[in-house]
């Protein structure tokens, strides 16, 4: 059910990932102030944007579960949050590397985007203990969905709060108007963000397919056992 279209999607992902890496290394110019290290931007920022969108998407899918009661929506929401957390680890690591290179410290507190991402990440880490300490499957789906919705709404408000609290010092390669990036950088960035989005969708589908298959296997095995004993 989820495996449909997985193959073309994976091929598209691989092609675009390769294209974006090629663009990053051979096409995009070195940044005037930060030099070569600034290229981590093409990995870090798309990962961060996709992870945050994944968190919010998990909340929206959770609304789908609460409205329809269809457990497939809960599985989608769970896998979206799960993938976003994995992407989130990568965001924090690449962010720390970039911070070390740009400012000389692995962690910088007066950097609103990094700090708000950490808070969001810490909150979502609680999703696992919450989800897996509830045994009843229906209740598990319901409680996880409630968490996903509340946390999804928390993401933007947290960003607003942290941004207000800190001085505005992020290396704003993409300025607020979005107009300061030269054309070749912008093209590379766009390709990277599409590639990372595809990567997320592919992994999400793959994980769902795997979960679905193992559930089906369990069901079949149970039926087989019932028949053998009968």
């Amino acid at each position: 059910m989820y495996s449909k279209g997985l193959k073309p999607l994976s091929i598209a992902t691989v092609v675009l990932m390769a294209a974006s890496l090629a663009l990053v290394f051979f096409y995009a110019p070195n940044d005037a102030d930060q030099g070569f290290v600034q290229k981590i931007f093409y990995v870090h920022v798309p990962l961060a944007i996709v992870a945050l969108c994944g968190f919010v998407a998990g909340g929206i899918m959770a609304i789908g579960y609460l409205r329809s009661g269809d457990r497939a929506w809960d599985a989608r929401s769970y896998v979206a949050i799960h993938m976003s957390i994995i992407f989130g680890v990568a965001v924090l690591i690449t962010g720390a590397i970039w911070a070390k290179a740009a400012w000389g410290h692995w962690w910088v507190w007066d950097e609103p985007v990094l700090v708000s991402f950490l808070v969001v990440f810490l909150l979502y880490c609680v999703y696992y203990p919450l989800r897996f300490s509830i045994e009843d499957p229906d209740r598990q789906a319901r409680y996880s969905s409630v968490f996903a919705i509340a946390a999804g709404a928390f993401v933007p408000i947290n960003f607003a709060a942290v941004r207000m609290a800190e001085a505005f010092t992020h290396p704003r390669v993409l300025s607020q108007t979005g107009g300061s990036m030269p054309g070749d950088m912008r093209l590379t960035f766009l390709v990277s963000i599409i590639a990372v989005t595809l990567l997320f969708v592919t992994l999400w589908k793959l994980e769902l397919t795997g979960k679905h298959a193992s559930m089906q296997l369990k069901r079949l095995r149970r039926r087989l056992e019932a028949e053998a004993t009968a």
Partner: protein, 224 residues
């Protein structure tokens, strides 16, 4: 709905008055933490950002205790089944629990803030009060809304005592940021801070958003 909520609230307050479980524990906890801060920081008097940070972190940690005890009576004595069997709107239950938490926090602050001024605060507290009180009330409102939700969310989990702080503390981070930033100039002796409106605005936005979310999703919790 308001009447049902008021009835549940009355029941909760009656239990709290007789058992004296949550509020005294929260109060004792805050005073102990103030003493911890005194030794941990090795300072006799705090002011400015250090003071407002110590005050708010302590209040939030005390709120964690209140939140984790919020459904305790129902869970331990099985009263939750009675509440759920009764034809009561879940939103009324949330409202009652949030109101109870709000009142607990207000009572706690009646003791904790003067105690803080006595033990740790350098500048005089009195001139700061006209602004500090609205900030405290707005923060209590947000804490009550999100606390009642978190408490219900964690009530059915196995590791309940573990989930509550893990869930509540990141969720109240924006509240801590705005409340502590709004309080910071007051505790430095600056009685007319310019950023106050901005922080109070953020605090009220937080309150509104989480009250709405809690009302929207609470129906799905605690039903069986």
């Amino acid at each position: 709905m308001i009447r049902t909520a008021a009835t549940i609230l009355r029941k909760d307050l009656a239990i709290e008055l007789r058992t004296k479980e949550s509020v005294p524990a929260m109060t004792l906890f805050t005073v102990t933490v103030f003493v911890l801060f005194h030794f941990g920081l090795d300072r006799d008097a705090l002011e400015g950002s250090l003071a407002s940070g110590a005050l708010w972190v302590t209040l939030l940690l005390a709120a964690v205790i209140g939140v984790s005890r919020l459904f305790a009576v129902e869970r331990e004595q099985g009263g939750i089944d009675g509440l759920l069997l009764a034809p009561v709107d879940r939103t009324a239950l949330w409202l009652a629990k949030a109101a109870a938490l709000f009142l607990y926090l207000c009572v706690l602050e009646l003791v904790a803030v003067p105690a803080f001024a006595l033990f740790l605060l350098g500048p005089d507290l009195l001139p700061a009060l006209p602004i500090l009180i609205p900030v405290l009330l707005a923060a209590n409102l947000g804490l009550a809304a999100i606390g009642a939700l978190v408490s219900a969310l964690a009530a059915e989990t196995r590791a309940h005592e573990l989930i509550v702080p893990l869930l509540l503390l990141p969720l109240v981070m924006p509240l801590l940021i705005s409340a502590a930033s709004a309080t910071e100039p007051l505790l430095r002796g600056d009685q007319s801070p310019e950023d106050l409106g901005r922080w109070l605005g953020l605090l009220s936005l937080y309150d509104v958003v989480f009250v709405l979310i809690a009302v929207a999703v609470f129906d799905f919790l605690l039903d069986d």
